[in-house]
């Protein structure tokens, strides 16, 4: 449990440092006149500042929740389950506060399109479908395990007829209800961030539009990948806990029935189920970690790099 508590903030902090230091290339490169380039460079800087602030906030939330969990031992499991989603929510909240970076333009003629801007105008369809699938999977697993758990919502038992065995912690509704609430919070924050990113004011200058679109696309990528990684990571933790408890409850145990010592046979089906849950949990955890690093990679990346258009030779 302590390893899981440290894993997320470590991944965030180390990932940010390593990926930033590795000097990955900018997301886009294009040319721009000198008069607009300074405005674009300033916007570039503000975006990176926002992204690093979001990363720092997520790391702090992860460390805080992990620390709080250890000090409140009774709620350690809950805190660990909630950490990825709440940390992602804290990071995505920065995209609600600062969805894009304003470009400074000279006063004069302003222009506007006459069509609403939607989040899917700025990114591929899969970027919006994958988080929805991850959320649906986590919701379904949480409810299913909640229904399978014992009445206390934190253990599972199996009646073999000659006795029963129980095991925990098992992610029943004791853990599931706060988790469902956290998923709702993440969904709301992410939806709000997407709307804010899409509808934020756009520059009138045509030469700044490409830079603006790049900033919006990158913001949407970071927000959606952060949400997806948190959901998949959490799914991994839930399945690991479920698989471990299921396997233990299915393994043969010694039990006393009256004054007679009886051995309760191993339940092959439950053992298999436990192994499948545990294995799926490991896969989800690794996938979630990879998605997290992918999100961090986008966040620390420079949105764009400009090459100044050569000044026209004067006659």
């Amino acid at each position: 449990m302590s390893v899981v508590a440290l894993l997320l903030p470590l991944l965030l902090a180390l990932g940010a440092v390593v990926l930033a230091a590795s000097g990955g290339g900018p997301f886009h490169r294009f040319q721009m006149g000198a008069s607009q380039a300074s405005s674009a460079d300033a916007a570039n800087l503000r975006v990176r500042l926002r992204n690093f602030s979001a990363l720092a906030a997520a790391t702090l939330v992860a460390v805080f929740l992990g620390t709080a969990g250890f000090s409140l031992a009774a709620d350690l499991g809950r805190m660990l389950l909630l950490t990825p989603i709440l940390a992602a929510s804290a990071a995505i909240a920065f995209f609600v506060l600062a969805p894009t970076a304003p470009f400074h333009e000279a006063a004069g003629t302003r222009s506007a399109d006459l069509s609403p801007r939607r989040p899917w105008c700025f990114g591929p369809r899969w970027l919006f479908v994958v988080p929805a699938i991850a959320a649906a999977a986590l919701l379904a697993v949480t409810v299913a395990l909640g229904l399978a758990a014992d009445a206390d919502g934190r253990s599972i038992s199996h009646d073999y007829g000659r006795g029963a065995s129980g095991a925990g912690p098992f992610p029943g509704f004791f853990y599931g209800v706060p988790l469902l609430t956290a998923i709702a919070v993440l969904a709301c924050v992410t939806a709000l961030a997407l709307v804010r990113i899409a509808s934020a004011p756009r520059p009138s200058d045509e030469s700044l539009r490409e830079a603006d679109a790049t900033i919006r696309l990158l913001a949407i990528r970071v927000a959606m990948k952060s949400a997806t990684s948190a959901l998949v990571f959490t799914l991994g933790i839930v399945l690991l806990l479920a698989g471990s408890a299921t396997h233990r409850v299915a393994t043969g145990v010694q039990a006393w029935v009256g004054s007679v010592d009886v051995s309760i046979p191993r339940d092959g089906m439950l053992i298999t189920l436990g192994i499948i849950e545990f294995g799926s949990g490991v896969i989800a955890l690794v996938t979630g970690a990879a998605l997290l690093l992918w999100a961090v990679s986008d966040a620390v990346r420079k949105p764009f790099e400009l090459s100044r258009l050569a000044a026209e030779a004067t006659a």
Partner: protein, 117 residues
């Protein structure tokens, strides 16, 4: 697309109203077309949301727009006829050749309209 000229003495809401009216009457904005939200348009034009809201309200009163919970859309209106637009093109070509401006053209139409129509 609509543009807002801050140097133009015409108030911003009137510039927006005129341009949207022209876009709708010319058929460039089709019936049912959803317009951007007040907040989005105000942000893009760097003006107060109330200015855009006033333009939308006046266009609704003129029967060109309709608002609902899902947003503001263009109503079914009769566009300017092709004959009228062709006549306008010929007229504009004459005014421009004479060195006149849009204001000159509009003024001339007003003067002659009261005499002829």
């Amino acid at each position: 697309m609509i543009t807002l000229d801050t140097a133009n003495p015409t108030p911003p809401f009137e510039q927006i109203r005129q341009q949207l009216t022209d876009e709708i009457r010319s058929g460039n904005l089709k019936p049912g077309h959803k317009l951007p939200s007040v907040r989005q348009l105000a942000g893009d034009l760097r003006i107060a949301a109330g200015t855009v809201a006033r333009a939308y309200t006046e266009l609704e009163a003129d029967g060109l727009l309709e608002s609902s919970r899902t947003g503001t859309r263009v109503r079914q209106v009769d566009p300017i006829s092709a004959t009228a637009r062709e006549a306008a093109r010929r007229y504009i070509a004459g005014i421009v050749a004479d060195g006149g401006t849009l204001d000159d053209a509009i003024r001339a139409v007003r003067v002659e309209w009261t005499r002829v129509a």
